[in-house]
Subunit: 255 residues, 4 copies
């Protein structure tokens, strides 16, 4: 059981919406993933008209909604976007995302801190997308963020975890949930994040843009479980040299 603020989640996999070929595929992928958190870009929705087209076919009663502030380049824009989602009743939590680089879509640390602080003051349950800067992650936690979401690699890149070392430091120091966000490309990436001790992961492109998104969603669900169980079970240590898998001494004489 994962708890973010006062929100209890049964799945450790959060899933994006809006990049699928069509709503049918999205609905089936969401179901296959077992997620109970759906993320979406507020900017993409015509909230004014009450349209929630991005969710077409999904029974929103079954999910926690995680609007994100994608498209914001400043704290001010991010805060305004979050409030829009709240006003539209589409907001259980909010994911702060303030982009600082158009090429890599990596976050702006200064504006991210500001936006998070402001939204915390306003009473939001705040999950903040950040780089894997170790000290920045701690500052977000100290500020009161309900979860910290370090990037594995640039959004949509599929490059996996570029710096497992930093991620591990972030996880070790954290008292709030760490959700690895952005850049994961395959089930092995998902399992690796969970084995490092992450509390959950967020995926969008890796599922939505896979050859078969529904099967990939199922794969990711299994990978998250596999990685989590592996973390809990405790893996063997890495040893530079071999130890016999089938020890042969002292048992049956060499004939």
């Amino acid at each position: 059981m994962l708890k973010i603020g006062n929100i209890k989640l049964s799945s450790r996999l959060m899933l994006g919406t809006g990049k699928y070929e069509n709503h049918e595929v999205q609905k089936n992928a969401v179901a296959a993933s077992g997620t109970d958190v759906l993320t979406f870009a507020v900017r993409r929705m015509s909230l004014e008209e009450g349209s929630t087209d991005a969710f077409k076919g999904l029974d929103l009663e079954k999910f926690k909604l995680l609007p994100n502030t994608a498209g914001a380049a400043t704290a001010e824009e991010a805060v305004r976007t979050a409030k829009l989602a709240q006003a539209a009743g589409l907001c259980d939590m909010v994911k702060v995302e303030v982009i600082g680089c158009d090429k890599t879509l990596l976050p702006d640390p200064v504006e991210t801190l500001k936006a998070s602080e402001e939204l915390l003051k306003e009473g939001f349950t705040v999950l903040t997308y950040t780089s894997d800067d170790v000290v920045l992650a701690r500052k977000l936690e100290e500020m009161g963020c309900h979860a910290v979401m370090p990037a594995a690699s640039p959004i949509g890149s599929g490059l996996g975890i570029l710096n497992p070392y930093n991620l591990q430091r972030i996880i070790e120091q954290a008292q709030v949930p760490i959700i690895v966000d952005a850049g994961l490309g395959s089930p092995a990436d998902a399992a690796q994040a969970m084995e490092l001790g992450a509390d959950g992961i967020l995926l969008n492109s890796a599922v939505a843009k896979a050859g078969d998104p529904v099967k990939m969603a199922e794969a990711m669900k299994l990978a998250v479980h596999a990685g989590r169980y592996g973390f809990e079970a405790g893996r063997i240590e890495k040893a530079p040299l071999a130890s016999p898998s089938s020890p042969v001494e002292g048992v049956s004489p060499r004939t």
Copy 2:
């Protein structure tokens, strides 16, 4: 469904025996893994006396047995060992393992080729443990081996896949099943092997020596499924730069 020679397998995970703390743990780990192939070192068994102590508590009717020739340093020893297992009725297939280096337990390519050739002539269903030498793997296949089992890294090391490049070449060129054997340490390693297109994996230490072997067996079962589904679904390509996970252009006007 995986088929090796004439033997049909429902699981893509093969599991070693004999390194567990006790038979109860082994039995439960085997069950949790969902495997239908159990491997064991013939040398470790007192076959003369009909003892199958290594399998205590396991219902052998439910599994395919894969005796291995661990402890053999020459083709001759390996062949003799395989025949012992056959004579004892403990042999659905045989895993050829001829060690050429005491430190790394990496296989001897020359003796491995010889042993495989001889056992194929004798009518065995042969699965051969080998290094990740690309040409050697092809020679084993051309010779008639029913499966080729390249090492990810030294036996029991938990170092994972040291050379994914070679493994991928081996898998691409193969017409027979490729079972990644030795060195896998965690669920992410298992998933990675399967995503590369391996037909299965063999684990021993990674499960038997984990903190909680039964939970790790479950983790590995899920990881193998996750990796396989990921392979079948088709992952996104790796892109050096980001693509917006939540595209924002042209949808709702920036307010």
Copy 3:
């Protein structure tokens, strides 16, 4: 020729002082490295008494001095430390270093920004130690820093470049010199940093704590040249498959 602010440097290797076994070794290592920039922790010096013991045996006329603010945990402390060095006449440039994590010694992004801003106002030539956060590096440059010094990995760890991807992004976007600082452990690490296009590197532990610091200093000097020349020469692209190193078709008939 490397230029930082108005300071011209002939070597792309900056070297730390104060971790050597004795002053003789330090002097010889400095000479072997060919550096013309010496860094030192202001905090370690008894500046009050005019002591420059850390430099014993070195002819300071020959070097540019780069005092760093190591030991500072806030912008205020860093600024005060920089001014101490300036007042003591030991300051051609200043390296801003504000630590935000005692375990990893990784920098505090917020205090680092503040300290850099303040020292720029005061007219210092500022080189700022930072994480490999891509946007943070750009902000430091935009603020006016004369060089940005992203960490390869934690100070003194010898882990090398944990995230070459981020480093490359930082280098690509930069208009000011990028000096890779912290964590480099071997000549190959140094060469890699330079091949990525870094303008220089800063070393301390990798030289001072090597088995033979003087020989390692020489090795690092060569590695920096090698990496720089390699960058300038333009390496071959990586190709997933082989191309014949000794092409044989169409030349001499196969006999």
Copy 4:
């Protein structure tokens, strides 16, 4: 000083011929590299007519010649090729190269062993190109090969060292020179090979196909020295966490 059989070499860098844009560039790159061993594919030369066009402009008196058997797919072909070079007087040593895979140009272990054995019997000074199979490398040494040349990665790929682990095992166990051959792409790769303890490296495409081959040759010369000195000097150990590069305790009081 490197000694292979009875041949003494002053440089640890061997260089291929025949892939350069023209003879002038080749001559200058060879000079810049400082090599004293030139390799060439016998198959490419019109030895029948005494032509040594590949060497045009080079003063062959100054170099040791290392003909290779590139183009051979069997031991028989390799032996015949070696004898051709010998008959033409172009042979101080011979590099056995028997390709077993057209796609990767990785060597055939069985034919490689046979060819090496045969040429050793004939009295050649034999350097054998092999995969990074640890046991195979040892067998070649035990057979009497004067040097073993494991591939870093496929010929001409520039992928660098795919499996440093295996390479290190090969180097540790060896009593004869280990020359890392094939796949190195940049100065950092060259330095890494030397830091692992290799006795030398062989390059062709990485230099000949670089943007500026002459400058790259110079870079590689420096990288080989850097890596060797680094190996001899003894690098610092990798530490998972930081140690202060500029220790601050107990020296000057925090003000």
